[in-house]
């Protein structure tokens, strides 16, 4: 039993950690080669990332785009999820599944669709098109987490607050908001991290004018591999881990992912 458990955990860890270990190893090479294990240890590629504008500018650009897109997605998702939940609880359950929508369509289709739309609107290539495309693409994530939060809330506590004299806005302020806050945070972080790593839509919509970090990595692939790419990946991964760690601290991550909290 214990042996099986350990074997299984090793497998999972290996599966999730192997690419990371390799990438981290590669990023520490002293030479401009993708050796693994690294030949000679050095942090020069990290230093290069933080010192050269051709690397850190795309990174800052990606961060701003992700932040804005996630904020817009959340501002749309919150009132929508709450309204639907208040008036039709069955419909609200569907919102949760909508969280899968970004993964249901092939990314190429979504990207081509967005591209064609912006061409029609004569905004092709404008920086804000990436933000709006990402916000629209990722809006289902906060929609899903917030709906999940509302669903797991005891609907009777809203009625209890009503019988105690609270009108609709007081109910939202004093009962609903404190409850769904961690779910909102989770939705924001999901959208943020996915936007940060998104390549295809950003490339198609404004790839020639707005160079985000994933686009920069791909563009520089044409001139050969460099360990800076690996060091960038490591930095971005650490950032995502930090953010998810914060969610894990403030909310119950398995519950946010839809696990039944009543089990075991």
């Amino acid at each position: 039993m214990m042996i099986l458990k350990r074997f299984f955990f090793s497998l999972v860890v290996l599966y999730l950690v192997a690419p990371l270990v390799i990438i981290t190893g590669v990023s520490l090479n002293a030479q401009k080669r993708l050796f693994f294990p690294p030949q000679g240890l050095s942090l020069r590629w990290y230093f290069e990332f933080f010192s050269q504008a051709e690397w850190y500018l795309p990174a800052l650009r990606s961060l701003s785009i992700a932040g804005l897109a996630a904020l817009i997605a959340m501002s749309i998702a919150l009132p929508l999820a709450y309204t639907v939940w208040r008036y039709d609880i069955k419909l609200a359950r569907m919102l949760y599944f909508l969280g899968l929508a970004p993964f249901a369509l092939p990314p190429v289709i979504t990207a081509l669709g967005a591209l064609a739309l912006w061409i029609v609107l004569q905004s092709f290539g404008k920086p804000y098109t990436v933000v709006l495309s990402h916000a629209a693409f990722l809006v289902t994530l906060p929609l899903a987490t917030i709906s999940l939060g509302l669903q797991s809330m005891n609907a009777e506590s809203i009625e209890a607050a009503t019988t105690l004299g609270a009108d609709n806005s007081t109910v939202f302020r004093t009962i609903v908001f404190p409850y769904i806050r961690p779910y909102m945070m989770a939705g924001f972080v999901f959208a943020f991290v996915l936007s940060l790593n998104e390549y295809i839509i950003a490339f198609m919509v404004a790839g020639f004018t707005v160079e985000t970090l994933p686009i920069k990595i791909f563009n520089s692939l044409r001139y050969g591999y460099t360990p800076v790419m690996a060091s960038v990946s490591v930095i971005f991964f650490l950032l995502a881990t930090l953010l998810f760690g914060l969610i894990g601290k403030f909310g119950d991550l398995p519950k946010l992912l839809g696990a039944d909290s009543s089990s075991d």
Partner: protein
């Protein structure tokens, strides 16, 4: 505090009828139980009174005030929910004082009132506890305290004890009854448990099939059920198919029984003679009585405190309760006092 008057209330959810033309006048300062099987509409009626549902037609009055014209959050009703519905992000005292806080009452007064109510429900000193630290019975009491904090005109409880285990439930029934008597506030308890209703209620409203079946004092409903639904739902009962012979007697299972009949019944009508298991006497030899039936014992259920004997009489199985010393297969006689039998239309 005035009477609660329910006037011709109907409620539909889409195509489903939940309540059909319910009219009731409920006395003030009493403990009233809405009793019925699940799906009978009893919870819907309670929620209509609280304003958590809107009636499809009909009105509700509290004395002269038309309650059904007032928004739920302005009705001044205290309600205890089946899940208790405590606010998980507030501690015990803040849960109790929630209603006071949103009315802008200052913190000191709020805490004082919370402490008073904790005393009322015998949980003094628990104000700082987190909700997750409470047992089921404690949550139940906190939910009551919160509902009573604003001194409501009506105190409504939706299956308040169903989440508790059997022994605690029985103790809480007595406690809730005594609390209601002390406060003198009109209280409505929804329950599907007839023992709970019999234990607590001054008045029971028996509901079934989305209508009110009977309203009355517990023992009145037990001993004088108005129809077969009530006779079957409250306690156990034997139903014997019978035929009206004349205005004074019926024939059933080959015997004639002299029983006072409702005047509405015609001679020759099919009726059911209902008699409680504890009202049947069992004899091992033929008794010198006029109303008697001969049968055979099919099964004995001896629970120690009571013995239930199943007797087959002319192909019909009757249940008899009471201590006796007989065995399966014995030939026996049954008799009963005609005054204990109730004739019901079928």
């Amino acid at each position: 505090m005035p009477n609660l008057i329910i006037q011709a209330i109907s409620k539909r959810f889409g195509q489903t009828v939940a309540l059909e033309d319910v009219s009731l006048t409920l006395p003030e300062a009493k403990l009233i139980c809405f009793l019925g099987p699940s799906g009978c509409g009893k919870t819907t009626l309670l929620r209509l009174i609280a304003g958590l549902e809107q009636a499809s037609s009909g009105k509700i009055f509290l004395g002269e005030t038309e309650l059904s014209a007032i928004a739920a959050h302005k009705r001044n009703i205290g309600m205890v929910f089946q899940s208790f519905a405590l606010f998980p992000h507030l501690n015990v005292a803040n849960n109790i004082a929630y209603g006071l806080k949103i009315r802008g009452v200052d913190k000191l007064t709020r805490l004082k009132r919370a402490e008073e109510l904790l005393e009322l429900v015998q949980l003094s000193g628990l104000g700082k506890r987190h909700i997750s630290q409470l047992s089921g019975g404690q949550r139940q009491r906190i939910a009551m305290a919160r509902a009573l904090a604003l001194e409501p005109d009506l105190f409504l409880l939706d299956e308040p004890l169903s989440a508790l285990d059997a022994k605690l439930r029985e103790a809480m029934q007595v406690e809730l009854k005594l609390l209601q008597q002390r406060l003198g506030i009109t209280t409505i308890v929804v329950t599907h448990d007839q023992q709970e209703a019999m234990t607590m209620a001054d008045v029971i409203v028996v509901m079934g099939e989305n209508r009110v079946q009977q309203i009355g004092a517990p023992l009145e409903i037990y001993h004088k059920p108005k129809n077969r639904f009530v006779a079957d739902f409250i306690g156990s009962n034997n139903f014997i198919p019978a035929l009206v012979k004349d205005t004074q007697s019926v024939s059933a299972l080959g015997s004639i029984f002299e029983i006072a009949l409702p005047k509405s019944l015609k001679v020759g009508a099919q009726v059911a003679l209902s008699i409680r298991p504890e009202k049947l006497q069992l004899y091992s030899s033929e008794p010198p009585k006029s109303s008697k039936l001969a049968g055979t014992i099919k099964f004995i259920r001896d629970l120690g405190s009571t013995v239930e004997t199943f007797v087959e009489v002319a192909g019909h199985e009757l249940s008899v309760k009471g201590i006796q010393h007989l065995a399966t297969g014995d030939k026996v006689w049954l008799s009963f006092d005609p005054a204990d039998a109730v004739i019901l239309e079928v």
